[in-house]
Symmetry: C2
């Protein structure tokens, strides 16, 4: 059950908010901890949309995992992709993402899986290659390149219809990410770019925000949804509520409204921010332990975050549903950083207790269940525009924006990053400039180009 030197081997999968918190909680202890992630950095995902719109640089919202744990000799980092879990042999298969190195097996005594989620395309997986995402750092850089390329293409285009399709941006899903992206693209077009083009006026660009529900930010109280919608409209964002997407193509999307009437919108840039599906690791855990996953691929864990029948395996974050200790019903927590961080801390404490022998082998059985302490919800729309719901206190506009700003600066990792980000934000606030509007190779090729090149 333990490593050769008698120390327990804890393997944590995922260097997001949840996994990071587990390792931080355990790092001062005696266990031999291995953190596995496919990237060599922790990404502060709530700000990746600012990379996607040229406000911040990747290095300002990402920190190397090795740097975070450099002082903890008992923590090692493995950059690799987990491809399988063997619950019987207590081993993970990790495929290397570093060229020229072999796949390996990682044995564990305790396993924590915090693999996160990715966007779901409602069964239309072919849309994935056409739409863009701001989930990872690489995808955010791709979005940045593609948005900027769309304006460049419009500037070069003589056909007015094609030009207007380059200047039309469709954002799918009016959750926090969709609202942020729509607001940022509108600000980019209206405030940052106008004087920079000679043939097109970026202010003629359209930003459409498509939402199935009848309001934006459904996780907020209706009054704040209303404020957010008004802020978006003031920025020129066109809200298409009660609309569903029925087709995505390289040059257009097709929508249906509540009455089933269809419209085709000519747009060459589609950003996806709707619906998530849990990491495939959730499915692997479910299958290996004989439990089912829900329709979003989440595995259901016990109230103490352990996998049913496997007290040595914990799972957390937006890849799990948590069984309620009282009702027994699975509960879905919002897929936000505070949930993952609290679950990470809870899991870390639970493991620490077990390793100190206080709860023996019955990890979690005796422990109290995880409880989420909701400290509030924030979403920003743009410059000095945000909404905040803090224990029933509803704020919007400038005060909400200041809170959003301070909270994000505070949780960002690294003193240097905080100072740089604060500086960039101050600069943007006063000049409406965006310092990192670069089209690099990360923009990739357009999907139709890729197919024609083959």
């Amino acid at each position: 059950m333990t490593a050769s030197d008698g120390r327990s081997r804890v393997v944590v999968v995922g260097g997001g908010f949840g996994g990071l918190q587990v390792v931080k909680t355990l790092a001062r202890g005696n266990a031999e901890i291995t953190l596995v992630d496919r990237h060599n950095y922790h990404l502060f995902q709530p700000l990746s949309y600012q990379v996607a719109t040229g406000s911040l640089s990747p290095g300002e919202i990402a920190v190397p995992l090795r740097r975070i744990f450099r002082r903890h000799r008992n923590v090692r980092v493995v950059v690799g992709e987990v491809t399988g879990v063997d619950l019987e042999r207590r081993e993970l298969s990790v495929e290397s993402v570093i060229a020229g190195t072999a796949a390996r097996l990682l044995p564990y005594d305790i396993l924590v899986v915090a693999g996160g989620s990715s966007y779901a395309y409602f069964g239309h997986d072919q849309w994935r290659s056409l739409a863009l995402e701001v989930k990872s750092l690489d995808s955010a850089l791709q979005v940045r390149g593609r948005i900027l390329q769309a304006f460049e293409a419009a500037e070069l285009e003589d056909d007015p219809d094609i030009r207007s399709s380059w200047l039309t941006f469709v954002v799918v899903g009016a959750g926090p990410t969709g609202v942020e992206m729509a607001g940022q693209i509108a600000e980019l077009a209206r405030d940052t770019l106008p004087r920079e083009f000679r043939h097109v006026d970026p202010r003629t660009g359209r930003v459409l925000l498509i939402e199935m529900a009848d309001r934006v930010l459904t996780s907020f109280p209706p009054s704040l949804s209303h404020h957010a919608a008004r802020s978006l409209e003031r920025l020129g964002v066109e809200l298409l509520l009660c609309h569903t997407l029925v087709d995505v193509r390289t040059d257009s999307v097709e929508l249906k409204d509540g009455h089933g009437d269809g419209t085709r919108i000519w747009a060459r840039t589609v950003i996806w921010a709707a619906g998530v599906t849990a990491s495939p690791l959730a499915g692997a855990l479910a299958e290996a332990s004989g439990v089912e996953v829900d329709q979003s691929g989440r595995v259901t864990v016990e109230p103490n975050l352990t996998l049913p029948g496997h007290t040595e395996v914990l799972a957390l974050g937006d890849m799990v549903r948590v069984r309620d200790a009282n009702t027994g019903e699975p509960r879905i927590f919002p897929g936000v950083a505070p949930v993952a961080m609290q679950q990470g801390r809870y899991a870390g404490d639970l493991i620490a207790e077990r390793l100190q022998g206080r709860s023996g082998q019955s990890l979690g059985r005796s422990a109290s269940s995880f409880r989420y302490q909701d400290k509030g919800t924030l979403a920003t729309i743009g410059r000095a525009r945000a909404v905040a719901n803090i224990h029933g206190l509803r704020l919007w506009g400038f005060p909400a924006w200041i809170i959003w700003l301070l909270v994000h600066l505070c949780y960002l990792i690294g003193f240097e990053n905080r100072v740089v980000v604060m500086l960039r934000w101050s600069y943007s606030f006063f000049t409406r400039g965006r310092g990192t509007r670069l089209i690099t190779e990360a923009a990739g090729v357009f999907p139709w180009e890729a197919s024609s090149r083959q």
Copy 2:
């Protein structure tokens, strides 16, 4: 000879130091200026090696071209690749690098070509896919990813020979870029990374600097070469002077010393900083005007930077040799930013004069020749280590480093970038940290992987 509205059409190819200066000089005038570059940004190339080693972010050393000229309505930017010059019809062929947009012809009345150079592989073009460069922003990001991946691979590797080949870095060419890269990799291995790895000690990494000549920084006086060499050795860089490269493979390089004896060095990361070849545009201009290029592909221009027989075409920067007004011999100026900037300003003034009718159609014939005013040469080796040669005043160590630092901060474009870079440098100076050590997809795949994937 002029645009439909009677204004002269000036087309400038290349948004580097030279081209940018031409446009800046002419921007306040009346001409209709088009700046063509394959990137949407101006890169402050002297600092791209700091992106390659994780000290700075791309957005901190690159500025969108459109932003620089946003207030000059007579300047337009075309993001595209120049593929041909028709001197008779006075037209440029520009291929779009923006997907979905067509190639186009750009007519000009006056053409300035500042296409720069790329690295030459001494006739071994197959080495290009194996070695790395820090010339462009994209290649610098690739170098960053590959250096960091090498350390990750070493950490995962059990075979001590392969591990040591991952920890061996070969830099080819001991000019300013090669010296900077070797110094930075050595500092990364010795100062930044050591506490972050558990299986390997990055300090055991080797950095080899290969140079054909018998000293580093041959453009400096020998005494400063000596100081630079001592600084490099103190950082642990192994200097292999009087050595030539005879083979580059995925896992090794082969060298020959002055006596013709060969050695194979097992190294998986090779950074190329030796020998340049002029942009293909130099060849295109030479061919179209019936002049010859030198062995590095440079076209020879008149003392006033015009193309022989074509007073309406100017070329400058490190893609040209300039015929000396007195001796008639072609002269090669150093391939550094100050030369390009002074030539750009000279070319801009010459064109402005012509457009104001002062020198009529005889552009340049009557004008005085270009003269380079050498303000000094600087090269940095690492933290508080640099050499400077300023009008015979020779400085090294900390004083030279401070001058290097101030000069680079001063020439960097954008107030925001200056503040952020100063902040990052101060932070690095005191903590020896490097804030942007991210392996992103820009790292690309390794050459042998690419071939096995096909």
